[in-house]
């Protein structure tokens, strides 16, 4: 188990990581997710030993490793730029950590390459510079796994790969985590990576962990408006009033035409926003769902088999009041609505998510 207590990093007056407590169980796939500049890379570098914390402690299975040199930590970092040694072959790159840690080489290079789905016969003796981006990524992974560290740290290593390759490697990473039983800590700004691979998510904003939990939990009950919007494209309505009633809240918003009742967890602050995801909403000529508002359709964008319908309340020019419904193309065509028409943006009230300030 990896645990940090009051972990803090300051650059002059800037607090990059603010007294962070995290706890990651052995074998877990944990993801630290947040926008650029939220302190996630600094946090990871402190765990790897490449950056000295201003304050706080890092413990691994009860042993204090806060001041241990990177050489002496059972952690291995996969860099964003992969950082393969350019003057070495693939084999030499992978043997490097094995020799440093006195691990028997034997057939390990071939095994590792197979583990990361590279053909040893084709790639083992290539120069590191001869590889494509995806191959470099795989070699970097094999090299980090080579001396069997307890914890694999990954600093957005998939960010610069194309979409299809990224998707495939995400799945492979999740499989590898399961196969090896090794703890993986992944840092990313990309929500799709976070949701797809992780057992546990830490959402970081301005150096603070603002929510911890499984991806489902955070998706279902985001702690803040920021997380709700970060977890997926969503429409947000500011609430004017919220009255508690048996584990639910009756909420009212001037922008919405109705009052509704939405379930809400008790241990959080009073709800301030109602959030509904694009793909849970639809437009129609009649108000048929139990929650909605009258809007004017401003734009219709076809995205594969769904359309994005951009709309806003008639006569309202406020940028914050632009809403989007994502619905299947056929369903949208069936409504006969076109750009410029007046319609109802609506959704099933149970799809509403309440979030505190």
């Amino acid at each position: 188990m990896l645990q940090s207590t009051n972990l803090r990093a300051e650059y002059g007056a800037l607090v990059a990581v603010n007294d962070v407590d995290i706890r990651i169980e052995t074998g877990e796939f944990a993801t630290i997710v947040g926008p650029s500049g939220c302190g996630k890379t600094t946090l990871l570098r402190m765990l790897a030993g490449h950056q000295e914390p201003t304050d706080g402690r890092i413990e691994l299975d009860g042993v204090d490793i806060t001041d241990a040199e990177p050489q002496n930590r059972p952690t291995s970092l996969v860099f964003q730029s992969w950082a393969l040694f350019p003057h070495m072959t693939v084999r030499e790159n992978i043997e490097f950590p094995m020799r440093n840690n006195e691990v028997e080489v034997g057939d390990r290079v071939e095994e590792l390459l197979q583990q990361v789905r590279l053909d040893p016969e084709v790639h083992a003796d290539k120069q590191a510079t001869e590889l494509s981006g995806g191959q470099k990524q795989r070699v970097a992974l094999a090299r980090s796994l080579a001396y069997e560290p307890d914890i694999l740290l990954l600093d957005e290593p998939l960010a610069s790969l194309d979409y299809v390759l990224r998707k495939r490697l995400q799945r492979e990473l999740a499989d590898l985590n399961e196969e090896l039983g090794m703890t993986f800590i992944y840092v990313t700004h990309s929500l799709e990576s976070a949701l797809l691979m992780s057992d546990k998510l830490f959402v970081l904003e301005n150096g603070n962990i603002i929510q911890t939990g499984s991806p489902e939990d955070i998706y279902r009950a985001p702690n803040t408006k920021f997380i709700a919007e970060f977890m997926g494209d969503a429409n947000t309505f500011e609430l004017d009033g919220a009255t508690e009633r048996d584990g639910s809240y009756e909420v009212h918003a001037t922008t919405l035409d109705q009052t509704t009742t939405v379930p809400y967890e008790h241990d959080r602050d009073t709800p301030a926003y109602l959030v509904v995801r694009y793909d849970d909403t639809a437009v129609g000529t009649e108000l048929t769902e139990d929650l909605g508002l009258s809007v004017e359709v401003e734009n219709v964008l076809v995205r594969g088999n769904t359309v994005l319908v951009e709309c806003r309340p008639p006569g309202d020019d406020d940028d914050d009041d632009e809403y989007v419904a994502e619905m299947p193309v056929e369903a949208f065509r069936a409504t006969g609505i076109e750009k410029g028409d007046t319609a109802y943006l609506q959704w099933n009230a149970s799809k509403s998510i309440l979030v505190p300030e």
């Binding site: 970092l77 040694f85 440093n100």
Partner: protein
């Protein structure tokens, strides 16, 4: 004519002019023309003249018919083999000065380049400026400065005199004094290539090595040294070749007692007015320079360095 036809004729025409000498006169070949002319006049011409003179017997060329003589070669090469005359000593002096200078500048520069490129943030610019500014001053002035410092009854004498030291062996006019001068003068030519190659090593590469359990020795031996090797090689080439031709340092700091090929060439052309002898030695220096350049450059794969930049 339609646009497409015009395009086609233009393409046909440019395709034809690509080949042969005409290609040199179209961009981008024409961009190299001024430099090519300069090299032809300033480098190739004089070199040919030197080679021709080395096969003459006097300070003029008899053109019709052109006469050839290998007398000076017999004198120089024969002298080296038999050990008569100064030529053997001159060769030993020259190579010793160059090799020692190269080794000394490397030993001094490597740690400094590492520190400047990777460790020091404050005062880094000051250090670099201190290294560059001497290059703006004439070598003559700097070497005369050294002479004033070391010469008998000079600055050094006055300083040690303050501590009661009255008599000691003169530091001037020795091979080691020449080496001191060349080491000082050519230090930046070693330091900057190594500094640049150190700069081009990514931080992540070094961090990755540490992360993968490399000790400081392994980090140096397997990562820093091979990745900075191009800088070491280029720097060594600069310093070795420049020291081979070091004339001022040998002249002033070596006085009249230690000769190198460069100072001997000047002596032959100047004082003794023996152009064929000077030319022969110049050809010899050129051969040594080219051979040592090839040997040094063969230790690195230039293509590999070019590919590494991606």
């Amino acid at each position: 004519m339609s646009t497409l036809q015009r395009l086609r004729t233009r393409l046909d025409r440019s395709g034809a002019s690509e080949s042969g000498l005409v290609g040199l006169l179209t961009p981008p070949g024409i961009l190299l023309l001024p430099m090519s002319l300069l090299l032809l006049v300033m480098f190739v011409g004089p070199m040919v003249a030197i080679v021709v003179f080395s096969f003459q017997t006097g300070n003029s060329i008899v053109a019709n018919p052109l006469e050839w003589s290998i007398a000076t070669y017999e004198e120089v090469v024969g002298g080296m083999i038999s050990g008569e005359g100064v030529y053997g000593d001159v060769l030993v002096n020259t190579v010793a000065v160059s090799a020692t200078t190269t080794a000394l500048t490397l030993i001094v520069s490597y740690p400094a380049a590492y520190a400047l490129a990777r460790r020091i943030e404050r005062y880094k610019l000051v250090f670099l400026m201190l290294l560059v500014i001497p290059l703006f001053t004439s070598v003559n002035i700097r070497v005369f400065g050294w002479a004033l410092f070391l010469v008998q009854n000079g600055v050094l004498d006055s300083i040690v005199g303050l501590f009661g030291v009255e008599e000691y062996a003169s530091l001037m006019y020795q091979r080691s004094t020449i080496i001191l001068g060349t080491t000082y003068v050519y230090l930046p030519f070693m330091l900057f290539p190594i500094y640049l190659s150190m700069l081009s090593i990514e931080d992540a590469t070094i961090e990755a090595a540490q992360d993968l359990g490399a000790s400081n020795y392994t980090l140096f031996r397997r990562i820093l040294l091979p990745l900075s090797k191009p800088g070491i090689v280029i720097g060594s080439l600069f310093v070795f070749v420049l020291s081979l031709g070091a004339n001022v340092e040998a002249e002033i700091l070596g006085g009249g007692s230690i000769f190198t090929i460069a100072s001997n060439i000047q002596y032959s052309f100047g004082y003794s007015q023996n152009w064929p002898l000077g030319s022969t030695q110049a050809v010899g220096l050129l051969i040594i320079t080219v051979v040592s350049g090839i040997v040094i450059l063969r230790t690195i794969d230039l293509r590999e360095i070019a590919e590494r930049g991606d």
